[in-house]
Symmetry: C2
Subunit: 556 residues, 2 copies
């Protein structure tokens, strides 16, 4: 054995961002630890940094290289930032997957879509049921969050008990699922907690979090006092909220129609797995067309302004036969995730132009967060009395603030960002090394590295436009005819009011006529020289330096 | 005369967005009104919708076509969304420009930069000084905002007095400039106000606005109790805030250094025009290098996360010899404008990694808005008792909410978005027609229409990547050699692990070999067919449909 056995924590994703969670735990001699993985999520692209990309994964190379040491994968809940990468990496990891029933339902669908046997998924009952995975014994502890059957993990190790909270809040009345059970948490902690690895998302929220149940009467009143059609959007996976909304509709005598594939799929999954009972009856969008609008309520996808979701479609006009009109009400029972503000506001303004009354979260009456606020997190620290706190699930500023809060209460803590190996064995967290981490993009069907240059090329074309120039040389290395240019993403005419393409062709032709043979015969020199001429024309004419692709064809 | 003379209002920009303000007033027979223009601003591009674009202007075509009717241009204040388009359109409008001294200083610089004689600018003293412009008599009424010498306009017309507020707040102690003078406003209104054309930006803020002066003691205390270097950012043009920050630094015994070109330029302009007096002494960044960090305060540009501004530079490491370290403090004395959240958070997290204490606006202690909130706007409605209120300067949802507030108080109002001609002559606003409006982009040195396809091409390349394919045909219309492909922004290999470029070349070569002469001889058919082959290869290999440029060269 190459050294003393140790207990390690290694975030590969999620510690440095809200998104793409992937946390490794290990026990054994350094470099030979047996491993488990908690969650394998994705994050979403944006036009600024990742145009055209479909999904962003954590770079799993380290774990793939060490897959022979991986005992099992545990998924805490079904949000994309915890489950979205599973089916994309399972073939490279090939370990059994454990999760609760609702999460398993979602995971199985994703695995099937990628041709992987969903039999790899083992459904777990809640704590005290536990499963052994190498040196670890792991149980699923129900927590409240904004999707059914979210779980913390109670991970027993040779170095003591770990509690990995997953995403959670303290909710005494979560509408769907079990209320927070402080006594159970206290019991679990009674034999001592070596480390609490803890959600940090809402550490900057200074007041205690509010229960999902506080929304019911507000939403009921809003629906009951609205004339016209009532439309509400929320995250499709927030099944408790969808239920609250649907019940408010029913109580106001409205027929309820769910719109958007994700919304229908989530409610169906929740009903099929038994987590959602007595959901009000719903009607199809075809049926909804015949219901007088003051008796109709739609619950729709697209709270973040996603272009193709139902909310955005409705903001552009008729969608599946239904259309918003003056004096209808549209409720965002959701918060706008940073980065989505412009998309959401575009929709709000479109609704405003239609005369629709838009109600958003600014009053705090119609939305609560699924994450624990700072006072709640501090209460959990006190309840669990762990030997140390490791903040996870957050941007660096959140991890840091969370560590400060723990330290202020006398609990050792460490800010461990992606790639940091933390030794949890002792009395306080100790940095034990680093592994390479980063991001991998799903682009179409292919995984491309963040540094492969694919995205860089796209961003450059988007900022600068693209000129393609084509030159043919005959058997004697003499230009055959004039160069041929094409442009994309550039103004057709500039300062001189002549065609930019024709000017580029004329200037490059002149260059070829006057330059010496040494350049003409050297592809690299010729490429560089022509590129310079093209850019110079573009700068003079339109004040831009475009991307340039030169194609030299030689008949010789 | 073609009809009864009338008083009209026509927003060309700014009524439907916060940005690119341009408001026209006219008096005369319909279609023959003599016109004035108030403000000519820009808005800023984003990667989502306008990649590579430098500035966005309102489409001024209507006014350019009617430039012979334009008597004068009035600029209310020096913010880019009010002044930024002036120098870009002045040659097409050629009317005298009136503004206050500080605004004129900024405007003159912009005109000079574009080779326009700044002698076109006439500096005005505040009300009661007034200037005649055709049928209008216009005076500048000082208001508080977040830049010196902001003004409302008192516009006397044959149909009565208009008050165009510009951007404003009610501030009894604005630190720089004159306090709000309710008596003067009341006097101005005493002879009756036909219409109040009024800022709507903060209509959704439900509490009365706070004075700039409320920040002084908070900022002083924060600076005084901070160890390490203290760095603060705010909008460079918010000269009052810069002064408050600098005074707090001086009071804490710190040397003050301004960083970022805009910051230096604005303070200099304010000093030169006499609006800023007794500004604390400042040192250069070279001098700052020798000051112990606990005695140093930097005031820097880049509060919105702009990539090249001082804040972003400092978040990436050393900037002009200065570097942030653990236990330094960085204050955002600013609010993040929607759309800039990601950029700002990226910087906050970089500072967090350095161990810098970041203080933002979440406490409301270190920033106040420059716009009047709803209760303030309602107070102004009551003070001025206009015959009608026309909300301006805001997104549609803001204009609408503002109109509702006025109507609720019994004052007729109209939501007039860009391009709507409103007749202000009667007892209530009446829609009198519409003109074409839109956006024009500055791209490099050229103005391009928003619908010209330039930006569309760029976005497509950014989302889909770009394949260029080059085919040469000999004198007999036979393919000469194999097609030649280049890619940009695409993965180099896909499903088959072979080179995507080589596969495209091979498949298109095969296509050329098997297709009939009718296609080979028809450029359009050939283009379409090759495009299809290229896309098919790309879909099979990498699951993407790229943009494709086909260049066919015929030696015949």
């Amino acid at each position: 054995m190459s050294g003393q056995e140790r207990l390690i924590y290694l975030p590969l994703g999620g510690a440095g961002e809200v998104g793409m969670n992937a946390y490794v735990y290990g026990w054994g001699a350094p470099g030979k630890e047996r491993l488990i993985l908690v969650d394998l999520g994705v994050t979403f692209p944006d036009m600024d940094s990742t145009p055209g990309i479909d999904l962003i994964f954590p770079d799993m190379s380290w774990l793939v290289q060490n897959a022979h040491r991986l005992e099992a994968i545990f998924i805490t809940h079904g949000h994309e930032d915890h489950i979205g990468g599973l089916a994309h990496f399972w073939n490279e990891l090939r370990a059994p997957v454990y999760c609760r029933r609702f999460t398993g339902h979602l995971a199985a669908r994703k695995m099937e879509e990628r041709g992987i046997d969903p039999g790899q998924i083992d459904v777990m009952e809640p704590f005290p049921e536990a499963v052994e995975a190498g040196p670890f014994t792991v149980a699923f502890l129900p927590v409240s969050h904004s999707i059914p059957e979210s779980s913390a993990l109670v991970i027993d190790t040779p170095a003591g008990r770990l509690v990995h909270t997953g995403d959670f809040k303290l909710d005494g009345a979560p509408v769907v699922g079990e209320p927070f059970n402080a006594e159970l948490w206290h019991d679990i902690a009674s034999s001592g907690v070596q480390a609490l690895i803890c959600d940090s998302t809402n550490i900057h929220a200074e007041t205690p979090g509010r229960s999902e149940a506080t929304l019911g009467s507000n939403i009921r009143e809003l629906v009951a006092t609205s004339s016209g059609m009532f439309v509400a959007t929320t995250f499709a996976s927030n099944v408790a909220r969808v239920k609250t909304l649907a019940e408010a509709g029913r109580d106001a005598g409205r027929s309820v129609c769910l719109m958007g594939r994700a919304m229908l799929r989530m409610v169906q999954a929740a009903v099929e797995t038994g987590v959602l009972t007595d959901f009000p009856p719903v009607i199809s969008h075809e049926e909804a067309e015949d219901v007088p609008r003051e008796h109709l309520m739609l619950i729709v996808t697209g709270s973040q302004g996603e272009r193709r979701a139902a909310t955005a479609q409705l903001s552009r006009g008729k969608y599946l036969g239904l259309e918003l009109k003056a004096d209808d009400t549209f409720l965002f029972s959701s918060k706008t995730i940073p980065g989505n503000e412009r998309s959401v506001l575009r929709i709000v303004n479109a609704f405003s132009e239609m005369g629709v009354n838009v109600v958003d979260d600014s009053s705090s009456l119609y939305h609560v967060s699924g994450h624990a606020n700072r006072p709640d997190l501090e209460a959990v620290h006190q309840l669990m009395k762990p030997k140390m706190v490791i903040p996870m699930h957050g941007e660096h500023r959140m991890l840091r603030r969370h560590a400060e809060a723990a330290e202020a209460a006398g609990i050792p803590a460490a800010v461990a960002s992606n790639g940091t190996i933390i030794d949890l064995t002792g009395d306080r967290p100790a940095v034990a090394g680093h592994v390479e981490t980063g991001r991998v993009y799903l682009d179409g069907t292919q995984k491309v590295g963040a540094l492969d240059g694919v995205v860089r090329g796209r961003i450059r074309m988007a900022l600068n436009g693209h000129v393609m120039l084509n030159v043919i040389f005959d058997e004697e290395d003499e230009p055959l005819g004039e160069p041929w240019a094409e442009i994309m993403g550039l103004a057709e005419t500039g300062a001189s009011r002549s065609s930019l393409v024709e000017l580029i062709e004329a200037e490059t032709a002149q260059y070829l006529a006057r330059t010496d043979e040494k350049v003409l015969q050297d592809d690299d020199k010729l490429d560089a020289a022509l590129r310079r001429v093209v850019r110079q024309v573009a700068v003079e004419e339109i004040g831009k330096k475009p991307e340039v692709t030169i194609v030299v064809s030689r008949l010789a």
